[in-house]
Assembly symmetry: C2
Amino acid sequence: MKYSSSKENYIKAIYHLEQEEPVVSTNALARQLSTKPASVTDMLKKLHEQDLLEYEPYKGVRLTESGKTVALQIIRKHRLWEFFLVEKLGFGWEEVHEIAEELEHISSRKLIDRLDEFLGKPKTDPHGDPIPDANGKMPLIEKICLMDLPTGIAADIISVSNQSADMLDLLKHYSIEIGTRLEITNRFQFDRSLQLIVQGKSKITISEHLAMHLFVVYAKETGSK
Amino acid sequence: MKYSSSKENYIKAIYHLEQEEPVVSTNALARQLSTKPASVTDMLKKLHEQDLLEYEPYKGVRLTESGKTVALQIIRKHRLWEFFLVEKLGFGWEEVHEIAEELEHISSRKLIDRLDEFLGKPKTDPHGDPIPDANGKMPLIEKICLMDLPTGIAADIISVSNQSADMLDLLKHYSIEIGTRLEITNRFQFDRSLQLIVQGKSKITISEHLAMHLFVVYAKETGSK
DNA sequence: GGTAATATTTAGGCGAATCTAAAAAAAATA
DNA sequence: TATTTTTTTTAGATTCGCCTAAATATTACC
């Protein structure tokens, strides 16, 4: 099924707003899309007819499963194109969003799967946001600073959203690289710095600033189900 | 200046039709764009108001200089994206046109210039059609079978529009590769085969079929102005 | 040169996506 | 709870790109 760019933008916006609150209001959508509430109502009715969202007047909206699937495909395209722009064409990560907003509406499924392949099936975009796979499944990636504290669950660094020399310098200092296993043991509220165990051995403390750039994927359970 | 995808398609279609006949008719355009003559008339009036073409009712249209500039930028984008799809993503040359029809409307100038760079500033797309440079200038490329005969002007192979094993095999046989200098000395009318001098030395005869796939750029004048 | 065939334009309409202004429902508050 | 404020929807218009049907201009041909 193919949808207009405009519809795709609505679906994507609803998806993002749903991350904050379970039901999305007409006004919130209008704000997000820089449009007027009346226009939103019109469009919601159309999207509802296509079963992309649950909508009852005055009650706000939620994406249906089918709507979520569409949203994830758009997000996949957006983030893969961003990755391409930065890694292959040398754009700065701040300047790619706008271009990706256009590219995400290119419809060819084959194109996006081949692009994914070409880029090496990246797990996150240049901003560190996770890229859904071809089936729309998000990798379980989080900024380490957002992880729940008392889990004791180990996590592996999967990417670093900043490749500056200064960043790499710091990572080297802490002996952190792609694949390093980390475990959070404490979060100091004063500056929100994190205490970590690196590779099950050394104990370190890192700043929130650094933590914001470390993306981790939860490590597979070790044995026990 | 930015134009809608629809307008860009009109401009591109007019540009292509102008290659055949100096003035483009409403009907020809309608046919090309799979639309109705009445719709074409509507659009021509709008494009005329934007000074993209010369238009007087019942007299057909021609692009203005400004219209041509726009057309060439669209063609540049189309062909660069085709090159990308084939060379980087591994698409077959037959399947890229449709996707490029969408990609050509992505507006970022910086994107297309970086893409050009990334691809190595190719001179032709996978079908062998020339790619305008950033200023809209077409490289002087021709299928060798279309070159005027008694020129004696040398030309360098700049690309080959077919990368099959059979093709490469044949080229190897003739010692022709990218950069090889060719000079046409005769065209046999019976089968339109061509007699060439390769690298100023060996004399060979190639079929029209092969010649259709050899693209050449006129060699720079050697010394004399 | 006049008439028939063809090409083009005009007139009026439609769907998509937007808008403003006004009405109606829901929420907040006195 | 009654009233005010806020949110949302409805009603009616606009622009864009397209359509069909009818009118008009051009061209081709007897």
